[in-house]
Symmetry: C2
Subunit: 693 residues, 2 copies
């Protein structure tokens, strides 16, 4: 049951799709405290017992169980995703409390919300909302999974990516021209390594201007895109939030003329600086701006582009003119002192260090929101969300029947209906591979099914073993993209020594596609979680709830990734008997039924460890070099069947939006009869080869 | 067998105590490459197979097995101890290769040495020395432990701390005056929480001047120290490397007059800036400077101070006058441009960000070393080491018979003879608790037995559970100090809710003292490791070598600390049958003999998990509020005996340097005879109560 409690006048963020009336009952489970006059906000206090766990909060650091730290919803462009970070790029105000009564809580509020989950007092959850106008949603259900589903019902169906975007993708900041893109594709194709897309980071543009192409680097992008598509490769360009201030640049000129940009306090277009230098920020909170900006994507779509990533849309703000001026003035004052002492030196460092993404600058920026001038700080968390909504709604107009790849860095709950997210500028660190694993179910809880991290790590230098282990996990993330920053070691799969190992790992992704795609689509269409902490499937098993480094993937599989340098194996907890698969390649794997309980399992660097639940099935196929050429009419059925199992295979064209046709489903049944397995199929469109334990 | 290979003219760093002739044989196992003329250095390449592991490198990030990353020896004042850091505060050029032939390698060189351990090529160790004059020591023995011991023979006996310094200690940057120190002691004593020392960070000084005391804050330090000592509490002040430039300040005046300071290129005293503002750096590489500076500690010793921590001695260098001037000039040039664009902005940020600890500034500083002017860059890693040597040698002169507590932030191998180290400015992160665990054996390998991390974490805000778990590990580190930075949450044990839990943990430290102190002293006197990866004790057990989060502590115990947020248990690998102890308090613990193999063990937040090896003993006593009042004449003997066990108890006065007296040893024997345990004692100075499984 979902109850909505309205505080003040609620802000219509668009996060929810179910229209509920405000409950007239008193809010239970939480003690409500109105903050004092200065603070203007509310505090909600919940008492935890020793066993209480807290899930959710989407894109945030630390474990799946988020108890023991404090988080703040404030979309932040911060590349240091360390254990002390309270905010990353997304604002995902949903928590799921596993307590005596399981609860879901969603705070629909576009400003700051703090989730103090046993940080200040180890026995208390304290939710603090920095404002008086918001909606508090409380979901009560017996089962944790049911709460998760209810919340998805509330916020609406998740974005569906085109099927090719579930292929393996390669990115780098930046492949600067045609030749560099070609070289990457050659590196993959010559080594028979699958690949579906190459990304264009900011350098493909002309002086970082959105919707332009650097003609020297890409003389004919349309022709180039066509040529690549013939090889099954899509190009995916980046779009940044800021619009370069440059006379004669159409996007800039139109924006100024039609009043599409955010304003400063005097009603002039607000000036910030990001990659292009001085920019205006489109006021995505306005319908007319969204429509205008969204339509701009057509420039690239007309060149054959079928996917985009929206970046810098927290928005990142390197500096504002005023902020820089103030910083320089403060510096000069300090330098004018007779002696620059240590205090002055640190003050200077502090001045320079606080220019970027400063709250003061955000406070200088205004939106026209629901007819009023609203300071950016009050609606900060809606910015990237609305940029992505702008693009998505335009795609619906421009190509109504076609799925376009779209994902964003900044986000708010509700944006999951318009695009996916990637988890931003992580690093080539083992701890960030672990963070990737632990972050996925939280993202799913908040509706972000098409999501993933920069595999191999964005910042810092990768090593072969790290990239290999990370890809072994990446096999299972819907967005499977290897991405790295400028100045870091090249980490395309073909750069390393064990090419065969990498080939087997990438092939496995494509071989698993019948399963992964079915599960991905069903998670979206049925409001289910694609990734789940294992306790979600075994709610009565207290040990299952303690496991922080295994995941359920879809309905049949459990994975136990290796995320530790030099590890030659790992501990795994099986919440039931399961079939273990230790996969070196599709032709070479160990299969063994293992008992419920604790196990230490050896796992070589080139091996992928996964498990199939009892009486569950996993359809697979032969790999291919890209999704376009993947054949899925003859499937190889993996399974662990002690009595009988059914699996609902989902197959569609992968490119149009006709998701909900019953011809997409094939019910596969397996019945064990006297040591033999009997197959049944609801439709005869696929052939099945059985490989059942 | 130790072989020494001299390259060029070796620099006498003082790291070793064994005088060896240079081997005339060719260096085996390594391919030697002289770098080109520009680079001026050597590269040594070793081929690893899949099983090869690499231990050592002392104070560095990542796992115990250091394979898979690249490290650089360069003492660095860097508070971000993340996975990407190649250098921390110490330069510890010793690695131990576990391969087909086990090897130890020590590069005795005061400049930069890079240890590329499978980072660039996953199958190669590449050691790069940035110079042509150094000694390469190669140690070949069958057993890993034997190599570790040989290396310690080479570098000499480790520093011995006074016994009170093995008590629990509390620090913070800063307890600013008598009242704040008193309040901390009250917090501990009133709650019956043991405590042996309180630290004075930089604010106790008068304007950060070494060997001065702020009279307003501590009007009579001598009297105050005496008053605290009566309660069993020592005060431990910090000493920084830089000497404030201030007319009339005796240390400054003497240093200038007698030429004790480092020079610039023109032969003038080099000017840098650290906490006191402008400073000169004592040229600790000169005997005369060491003698002079060391004698200064007497000022505080005369006030009753018995311990010191040497800080900022990499040396940390916030800026130099010249460096700051250059930075400002560069900033001004950029600002003079008509348009400050994004490139200029980043250039400015870069300029400001590279002022601190810049190599350019280090290059402006000179030492008089072995009669020559030597650029600091060439001997950088010897600085903190020689500061600590200065203090230690002075203590020998001032109080020849008394042990004085001394530890340092920067270090080089060899410094372990003069003092301990703490691991610098970590953070209140779970990952840093894990790093603490994984760093300890590496430090021990390099001779640093008296060592430990800032328990609870220095930077960032701690939570109750983190501090509790960290102290549960800290029980076992010789230096057991809780320390936190200015501006962070207060984390003294009495600040939290579960006082009884903290009391039990601290009591356990004191109860274990007969064992911990015996093992600490024997590790030093017999060149053994106090902390060991478990493979060191079970060399034939391949699984034992894979374990990265358990440690052998002394000869009888194994620990398996909890280092994960919210964990209610953990996996443990037992390399043999062992007696498990799950300790809530000395009166309340679970004891169970467990079989060799893998186990999942539940461990409550207030429980300490440890193990006793078969036929091994652990003497314990009743806790006390400080070491001075700890009674160790009646011991409670824990043990796991299947046939017979002997334990060599070491007891001395704890304060003088008469370590090597045979009356300090009591041999305790236990024989199991028909289900009964028979006790034998070599001396009757202690009474033993048996508690044997």
């Amino acid at each position: 049951m979902i109850k909505k409690y309205c505080f003040g006048e609620s802000v219509n963020t668009g996060a929810t799709v179910l229209k509920l009336d405000s409950s007239q009952e008193e809010l239970s489970y939480f003690k409500v405290k109105k903050q004092d006059q200065d603070t203007k906000g509310y505090q909600f206090i919940y008492l935890m017992d020793e066993k209480t766990q807290v899930f959710g909060l989407g894109e945030n650091v630390r474990g799946m169980n988020k108890r023991g730290f404090i988080y703040e919803s404030h979309c932040s462009d911060d590349p240091n995703h360390d254990e002390g970070k309270r905010s990353l790029y997304g604002a995902h105000n949903f928590i799921l409390i596993r307590g005596k009564q399981n609860l879901g809580v969603f705070i629909d509020f576009p400003g700051k919300v703090r989730f103090d989950l046993g940080y200040t007092d180890k026995d208390e959850i304290r939710i603090e909302v920095d404002g008086e106008d918001f909606d508090f949603y409380l979901i009560c259900e017996h089962s944790i999974s049911e709460i998760a589903k209810r919340f998805r019902n509330l916020i609406g169906k998740s974005y569906v990516a085109p099927k090719w975007a579930l292929g393996y993708q390669q990115s780098r900041w930046s492949y600067k021209n045609e030749a560099e893109v070609e070289a990457v594709i050659k590196g993959y194709r010559e080594n028979k390594l699958p690949l579906d897309a190459v990304y264009l980071d900011i350098d493909y543009m002309e002086r970082y201007k959105d919707f332009t192409v650097n003609k020297k680097a890409f003389p004919d992008l349309k022709c180039f895109a066509k040529h690549l598509k013939e090889q099954g490769i899509r190009l995916v360009p980046i779009i940044d939030a800021g619009v370069k201030i440059e006379k004669g640049y159409d996007v800039y000129e139109e924006g100024v003329k039609e009043d599409y940009f955010c304003k400063d306090a005097n009603g002039k277009d607000f000036i910030g600086a990001v990659w292009p230098g001085k920019v205006h920020f489109p006021d995505f909170l306005q319908e007319k701006t969204r429509r205008w900006f969204g339509d701009k994507y057509k420039v690239l779509m007309d060149m054959g582009i079928e996917g985009f990533w929206n970046d810098m849309n927290e928005p990142a703000l390197f500096y504002s003119e005023e902020g820089l001026k103030e910083a320089f003035e403060a510096l000069d004052q300090l330098r004018a002192l007779e002696n620059i002492g240590i205090d002055e030196y640190f003050e200077m460092q502090n001045i320079m260090g606080s220019i970027q993404n400063s709250e003061k600058d955000y406070g200088r920026m205004y939106h026209q929101y629901n007819g009023e001038m609203v300071c950016h700080n009050k609606v900060h968390n809606l910015y990237g969300y609305n940029m992505t909504k702008a693009a998505s709604e335009a795609f619906d107009r421009i190509e109504p029947d076609k799925r376009i790849l779209l994902f964003s860095r900044a986000s708010y709950i509700g944006m999951h209906r318009y695009g996916g997210i990637w988890t931003g500028d992580n690093k080539s660190w083992w701890s960030h591979l672990k963070m990737n694993i632990q972050m996925m179910p939280g993202l799913n809880l908040c509706g972000f099914i098409y999501s993933g991290a920069d595999l191999g790590g964005f910042g810092d230098h990768a090593t072969e073993d790290l990239v290999m282990r990370w890809l072994e996990f990446g096999i299972f993330t819907p967005l499977m993209r290897n991405h790295a920053a400028i100045g870091t070691r090249e980490q395309e799969a073909y750069r390393f020594k064990d090419l065969e190992g990498f080939r087997n790992i990438l092939n496995l992704r494509y071989s698993l596609m019948p399963y992964l795609y079915s599960e991905y689509m069903k998670a979206i269409l049925e409001d289910k979680m694609y990734f789940r902490p294992i306790g979600f499937d075994y709610e009565e098993d207290e040990m299952a709830w303690q496991v922080e480094d295994q995941l359920m993937v879809g309905e049949s599989m459990m994975i136990a990734p290796i995320y530790t340098q030099n590890a030659k194996g790992r501990y795994v907890y099986l919440p039931s008997d399961m079939l273990m698969l230790r996969i070196r390649s599709m032709e070479d794997m160990d299969r063994k039924v293992m008992e419920k309980g604790h196990h230490y399992i050896e796992v070589g660097l080139n091996e992928v460890l996964c498990f199939i639940k009892p009486n569950h099935l996993v359809p697979t196929t032969n790999p291919s070099l890209c999704i376009d050429t993947l054949k899925e009419d003859k499937l190889n059925l993996w399974g662990y069947v002690t009595s009988e199992a059914t699996y609902m295979l989902y197959q569609d064209d992968g490119y149009t939006k006709k998701y909900e046709d019953e011809t997409h489903y094939t019910k596969i049944g397996i019945k064990k009869q006297e040591e033999k397995y009997e197959l049944s199929l609801s439709r005869n469109t696929v052939k099945i080869n059985m490989n059942i334990n």
